[in-house]
């Protein structure tokens, strides 16, 4: 492939991925409302479209048409910049996550990942650390005490859990011997999923992912009873929708990342022994990836509507005194595994 073909293929892949994320996020909001209704014995949205299936689109339209109110005390340029950063971070993170094996298109072998870079996992970590800015800046620039409190809580929480997140990834890297997401997926062929080999690391990463995406039981940054709306109290119209969209996109990306790191990525166990043609192999792999991500997304929503919110000191205790030592322990466990079984 020459440089022009690579650029064309990459742009096509970016368009596909962005479209899929946007659609997935729209329906994620719908399913969140439906599942919460189910959990609370209600009906949920059922007016727009078949069983309310077009409700999210109606909501987006409503938000677009609303008046954009910026408070007087707000710092206007930064108030506008914050949701842009939130969206930028959540959409660019997906670039390195592979969603299928190499496929043949017009005689070229195209990997089903937007950017197959050597330092993919570090890229993800770097971008998640940028996500803190969106919330901190939103909280500070709104000029309201509720926003500021939400922003500060969120940054403290994200910085604390980033550490156990990074250390949990350490165990995965030891086994795959690579920072490339594609190789991490390939290292988990057959039953050798990282979730089975290092369950403790899987749990610490899962909990940290909940904290990083600000989902319940860790949604203190926007705890409604105490902080009105948290860091986005002073946002309205499409700027609010930006944060809303970014939150759900982050959930989607966290699920995709957990699947890639711990649940074998797009691999269906022992699929290469079935003697399928290349095309079917790719199709089944992509579907497998989609099902795994969907299952995790359901888990995210399920937890949100089942578990109450932590108190702030409990959250910090859990992060620093439980998750951090556990993730360190996991690294030692993986090192022992490698030493004993020569994995």
């Amino acid at each position: 492939m020459n440089i022009l073909q690579i650029i064309i293929f990459t742009i096509v892949k970016i368009l596909i991925v962005v479209t899929i994320i946007l659609l997935a996020v729209t329906y994620l909001v719908y399913f969140e409302r439906k599942i919460s209704a189910w959990a609370q014995n209600r009906i949920g949205p059922n007016r727009v479209g078949w069983h309310g299936a077009l409700q999210s689109f109606a909501d987006v339209l409503k938000l677009l048409l609303k008046e954009d109110i910026v408070p007087d005390a707000a710092n206007k340029p930064i108030h506008t910049l914050a949701p842009i950063i939130a969206l930028f971070v959540s959409f660019t993170t997906y670039a390195v996550i592979p969603f299928g094996p190499n496929i043949n298109v017009f005689g070229f072998s195209v990997p089903l990942v937007v950017a197959d870079v050597n330092i993919g996992i570090l890229y993800v970590l770097a971008l998640t650390s940028l996500g803190v800015y969106a919330i901190t800046l939103a909280g500070w620039s709104s000029g309201s005490k509720y926003s500021l409190l939400g922003g500060i809580r969120s940054s403290a929480q994200m910085i604390s859990y980033e550490i156990s997140m990074g250390f949990s990834i350490g165990g995965v890297l030891l086994l795959s011997q690579s920072l490339r997401p594609v190789e991490i997926v390939q290292a988990q062929s057959g039953w050798m999923w990282n979730a089975i080999l290092q369950p403790v690391g899987f749990i610490t990463f899962l909990v940290s992912a909940f904290a990083e995406t600000n989902r319940l039981p860790f949604d203190l940054p926007e705890a409604e009873p105490e902080l009105v709306g948290g860091y986005h109290t002073e946002y309205s119209s499409m700027k609010f929708a930006g944060f809303f969209l970014a939150e759900y996109a982050n959930m989607f990306i966290a699920s995709a990342l957990i699947v890639t790191l711990y649940l074998g990525g797009w691999q269906f166990p022992y699929l290469d022994h079935f003697g399928l043609s290349n095309g079917w192999f790719a199709v089944i792999s992509v579907i497998t990836f989609a099902i795994k991500v969907a299952a995790l997304l359901f888990f995210f929503i399920w937890v949100r509507w089942s578990i109450p919110r932590f108190r702030y000191d409990q959250l910090m205790n859990l992060g620093w005194k439980v998750m951090f030592p556990l993730s360190l322990l996991n690294i030692i466990w993986v090192a022992v595994l490698i030493m004993v079984f020569k994995l």
Partner: protein
């Protein structure tokens, strides 16, 4: 001028301009924001040089860690006193002399050094090489740096307790 040069000058311009704004802006919070772009520009130049690992670590450590702490300090303290904290210029003459001297030394060493320019293939992966060097050749230095950071950590914690 090829694409490589254009991208280099773009990142260099971002770095230098934002660094200029960091020191000239009156509002100290804006200074911290401009610093964000400075770090970004430097990371971009690292990527351009093929040092992908350093570029990402630059983002994780400086943008994700240090700058957040600076922002916290600035954002939470500049409203405590009723007077807004501003940056200003004091001691202009000594500073100018110092800057001129430093710039002169740097320029002179840049011009005088006979830079070796050898055509080398762009390394495909730097992480493995860096890892090997850190745990083999520079293992002691690496461990000592770790101990240094640990001492700093304990010191900070014990000072915060007082």
């Amino acid at each position: 001028m090829n694409i490589y040069d254009i991208v280099f000058y773009l990142f260099a311009a971002i770095t230098v301009l934002s660094a200029f704004f960091v020191v000239t802006t009156r509002n100290i919070v804006y200074s911290a924001y401009y610093l964000l772009f400075t770090f970004f520009g430097v990371a971009g130049i690292y990527v351009l040089l093929g040092a992908d690992f350093i570029a990402m670590v630059q983002l994780i450590v400086y943008v994700g860690g240090i700058l957040i702490l600076i922002l916290f300090g600035v954002m939470l303290t500049n409203k405590i006193t009723s007077v807004e904290i501003k940056t200003g210029s004091v001691q202009v003459v000594p500073a100018a002399v110092g800057v001129a001297l430093l710039a002169g030394i740097l320029m002179a060493s840049m011009v005088d050094t006979k830079w070796r320019s050898v055509e080398t293939a762009m390394p495909s992966a730097t992480t493995q090489g860096i890892g090997m060097l850190l745990i083999q050749q520079y293992a002691i230095v690496f461990e000592l740096l770790g101990i240094l950071l640990l001492i700093a950590l304990i010191g900070a914690a014990s000072m915060a307790r007082k």
